[in-house]
Symmetry: C2
Subunit: 226 residues, 2 copies
């Protein structure tokens, strides 16, 4: 397809496409005439990925360049390092608030929790560090006696959610009428994983807020407090 069609299909303007090519985020099209290039499905997948990283992931052009460079080096879309770059914003200001010792203690406790749950999680998994930050902040701002076992009641419901989400990724066509992931299209795989990680995570938080509102209104109607 020509650049105008690529722009229409991807929702990215021709000027921005040319900028991405100059910055090395998008490979140039194949020259079919001195002043005309031809673009294929791979270009479209790449542009859709860049747009999602920018507009949903909130990544800078520099961060997007790192992600696509990893993809070009053949890093699989499912890898922690690649997906971690597009993860939700981390809880900020923790080390300033609790100090390095407070954070290290929380990290050890999260390790014990994971062992207790029997979950196989790498030391450098971003979610492991995030849970430790959350625990450290709960101790600093809520109650010093709080331990990682406070998270145990979340393990079973969260596992149910994750089994559902993995089902969508592997058998999306069946469960939600979506296309399953095609391993030959790494941009699409990463885009779907990133969107799922961020947007379904946000959906889970919003549903939690809605369920709290529902239970709170019912309790208020029944004359209870909280």
């Amino acid at each position: 397809m020509r650049v105008s069609e690529l722009a229409r299909e991807s929702g990215v303007s021709v000027a921005t496409i040319k900028y991405y090519i100059r910055e090395g985020l998008l490979p140039p099209g194949e020259l079919t005439a001195p002043n005309q290039a031809d673009y294929g499905e791979r270009h479209l997948d790449r542009l859709r990925l860049i747009r999602a990283l920018r507009d949903v992931g909130g990544l800078s052009i520099e961060a997007i360049a790192e992600v696509v460079a990893d993809l070009d080096r053949g890093v699989p879309a499912e890898s922690d390092s690649l997906l971690g770059q597009c993860d939700l914003p981390r809880l900020a200001g923790v080390e300033e608030a609790v100090g390095p010792d407070g954070l290290a203690a929380a990290e050890r406790e999260v390790g014990v929790l994971l062992e207790w749950l029997g979950w196989d999680v790498g030391d450098d998994c971003p979610a492991r560090a995030e849970l430790a930050r959350v625990l450290a902040m709960l101790r600093e701002f809520w109650d010093r006696r709080l331990g990682a076992e406070a998270f145990l009641p979340y393990a079973k419901p969260v596992s149910e959610i994750v089994d559902f989400e993995r089902g969508v990724l592997r058998h999306g066509e069946m469960s939600l009428g979506l296309r399953p992931l095609d391993p030959a299209r790494p941009e699409e795989a990463l885009r779907v994983l990133m969107l799922g990680s961020i947007l379904f995570g946000r959906a889970m938080l919003a549903l939690r807020g809605l369920a709290h509102e529902d239970r709170g209104r019912r309790a208020a109607a029944a004359g209870e407090s909280v």
Copy 2:
């Protein structure tokens, strides 16, 4: 207590305490001598709340001033309007990406979902608007055929989580060894609700990431894809 003791107990410096008094965030202490004021538990509760709103909630001084003004007017800590001000950051850039019609369609669908679930949720509940934003973005960036029924599998596990969280708020002493909320201390009630909303929400997201990592590593070890 004197201002130096208030600073030590709250973790807020004397200079910052004086700044909060000037800005009207904290009522002045009771004058016991021309140059000496006495502060009580209410001042300590207020400072702990301000610190949590600033360091965990990420609120500006102006936003904190609105929250404490509501408290001073007697708005209950559990109210949507008060808690909504300390809520998680909203998904940004949605209307620019999907347009007002896309957002309105998603809002209608979320309404149908809530009716189907039988959840009693006000029209102005921030979580209702957030779920609509998420649905609109999933349609724009993932698949146009996606409907609000995609969120149905979250309802049961999220309800389990919310029942646990409400139990912590109402019977914290029993379930986690924490103090239960005291209705006579609205600052403390709001602080705990806000911290719970933000930090346990983050914990839920982190645990979801950890469960995905665990299932992914097990599947990889068994030679499956994704």
